[in-house]
């Protein structure tokens, strides 16, 4: 077999850190000036903060530039030009791609991209897929709706760019997709963790099919945390007998991070294309040291139509201690996106992250993949109910499983839970992104 370069871009992906930082500064200055000169919204924002392009002389100066939050985007988009508002930096006729956010946190945000931006999307995804072992010999199945969400569109075009054979799996329902996998024998697939597990469940329990015996040998997950949660990754890998890789990106940002074939327990930030800062949630101070979680502020250097400059993503991340054995100089974030600032909440005075619950639930045999968490007030006291499904083979043994579940939850989250056990296949299923955490105290 012909040996190929392990890096999509050997030059940039192994660039010495000093040169990478120089590149980041030069690129930040350019995108900042671009937005300042071409968008009424950005000009207003920066003038009100008293910061101009010539004020950015170091990466530390980047912090002088005011942040943009998603809530601001919603207000901007009430202005002309319809529908993008005055954060648009190009004439409307240069916009060739419309996408929108999923709306899980409120009114969707509309996203404009030009042809060049769309090429940029597929190029960023090419870094991801090549790092995860995709090669021209691969046949890639994409069981995705090909709709208004950016999701796997760029994954499709990146796979094409690499030279893979791409099989679009839109419109088909889950059973039809599984039959297509059996029929066409793809080697790779892309989907959310929820759907990867859902497909496996449908295969086993409704079609008498073992997904571990299909031709799939690698899976790229995106759209929600899961593939960087060890127990969820393990469940997916065992279900499909395939390597499962994570990618974190966003409609408003781009495809900014990727796991490589080393599976180092974290994601590389594509630092040639994106600048990531981590801020302390309480103080707003920058965090450089590894292992300390904070909120991600991110800039996309090259996205021109609707720039992303110091966007407060609300994602919680932390730098990893050690460089990756793969040899890339792009830094790793440990554990991927650990959670969302919006989702991390205090229960009984203790900070709780939904991903910590997911890690416990999916690490215990006998418990199904789907679960639900409900937080409510009983009088003055917070109460957490965890709804889980017991697998049919473990119904008689639930008395042995529940104490293990409770102990692990207390150990990992420092909280006690009311456990509600349900029959397998009775909790809600989700086609794409799951909404498992419900905080009723907010209503």
């Amino acid at each position: 077999m012909k040996k190929t370069n392990p890096y999509w871009n050997p030059f940039l992906e192994t660039l010495p850190r000093e040169s990478l930082r120089a590149l980041q500064l030069n690129k930040f200055r350019r995108i900042f000036k671009w937005a300042y000169d071409h968008s009424a919204f950005h000009r207003r924002l920066y003038e009100s903060a008293g910061v101009r392009p010539e004020d950015i002389r170091s990466l530390e100066d980047v912090r002088k530039v005011p942040k943009v939050e998603k809530t601001m985007m919603r207000d901007i988009q009430l202005k002309d030009p319809f529908p993008y508002g005055d954060a648009l930096c190009v004439p409307l006729e240069e916009v060739t791609e419309y996408r929108q956010t999923s709306g899980t946190t409120g009114q969707p945000v509309y996203q404009a991209d030009t042809w060049t931006d769309w090429e940029w999307w597929s190029e960023c995804w090419a870094y991801i897929l090549w790092a995860q072992g995709y090669r021209p010999e691969d046949r890639v199945f994409i069981p995705f709706g090909y709709n208004v969400f950016v999701a796997f569109w760029a994954g499709h075009y990146a796979a094409e760019k690499i030279g893979c054979e791409v099989v679009p799996g839109g419109v088909l329902d889950t059973k039809a997709r599984l039959l297509k996998i059996q029929e066409i024998r793809p080697t790779a697939m892309m989907a959310t963790p929820t759907y990867i597990l859902g497909m496996a469940e449908t295969a086993r329990h409704k079609m008498g099919m073992d997904p571990a015996l299909t031709s799939i040998n690698k899976i790229t997950c995106a759209g929600e945390p899961g593939a960087s949660i060890p127990s969820t990754k393990k469940r997916m890998e065992e279900a499909w007998n395939a390597r499962v890789y994570d990618h974190s990106g966003a409609t408003e940002i781009g495809a900014w991070s990727y796991e490589c074939t080393e599976q180092p327990g974290g994601l590389h930030v594509n630092e040639a294309f994106f600048h990531v800062e981590i801020e302390d949630r309480e103080t707003g101070e920058p965090i450089e040291e590894p292992g300390r979680p904070g909120e991600m502020i991110i800039t996309a250097f090259d996205r021109k139509a609707q720039p992303c400059i110091r966007f407060d993503s609300k994602d919680i991340i932390q730098w990893a201690e050690d460089p990756c054995p793969c040899g890339r100089t792009f830094r790793l974030i440990k554990g991927g996106v650990i959670g969302r600032a919006d989702d991390i909440t205090k229960v009984k005075g203790v900070l709780l992250s939904p991903s910590a619950i997911e890690e416990v639930v999916r690490s215990i045999d006998g418990i199904g993949d789907e679960f639900e968490v409900v937080v409510e007030k009983k009088g003055d006291i917070d109460q957490i109910t965890l709804k889980v499904e017991v697998l049919p083979d473990y119904r008689e043994r639930w008395g042995e499983v529940e104490p293990v579940l409770k102990d692990q939850l207390r150990l990992k989250t420092n909280l006690g839970y009311r456990i509600e056990v349900h029959e397998h296949n009775t909790l809600p299923r989700y086609d794409v992104k799951a909404r498992r955490f419900k905080d009723l105290r907010k209503h």
Partner: protein, 59 residues
């Protein structure tokens, strides 16, 4: 930064592609097929410019 000769050759050729593409766009005039296809090529060239930054950007 001390870049290799190979990188310098690549940069030269990417810059040549960029220049060639812009020349093509200048003569595309009222030829929609030429103008639109040349713009698609230009978008790919823009990506190559990001993949292979100017040496001055790395210092």
């Amino acid at each position: 930064m001390d870049v290799s000769e190979e990188y310098k050759v690549i940069l030269e050729k990417v810059q040549a592609m960029d220049s060639w593409c812009r020349d093509l766009l200048e003569v595309s005039g009222s030829q929609p097929c030429l103008e639109r296809n040349a713009r698609r090529i230009q978008a790919s060239v823009e990506m190559l410019k990001l993949d292979f930054p100017e040496i001055s950007d790395l210092e």
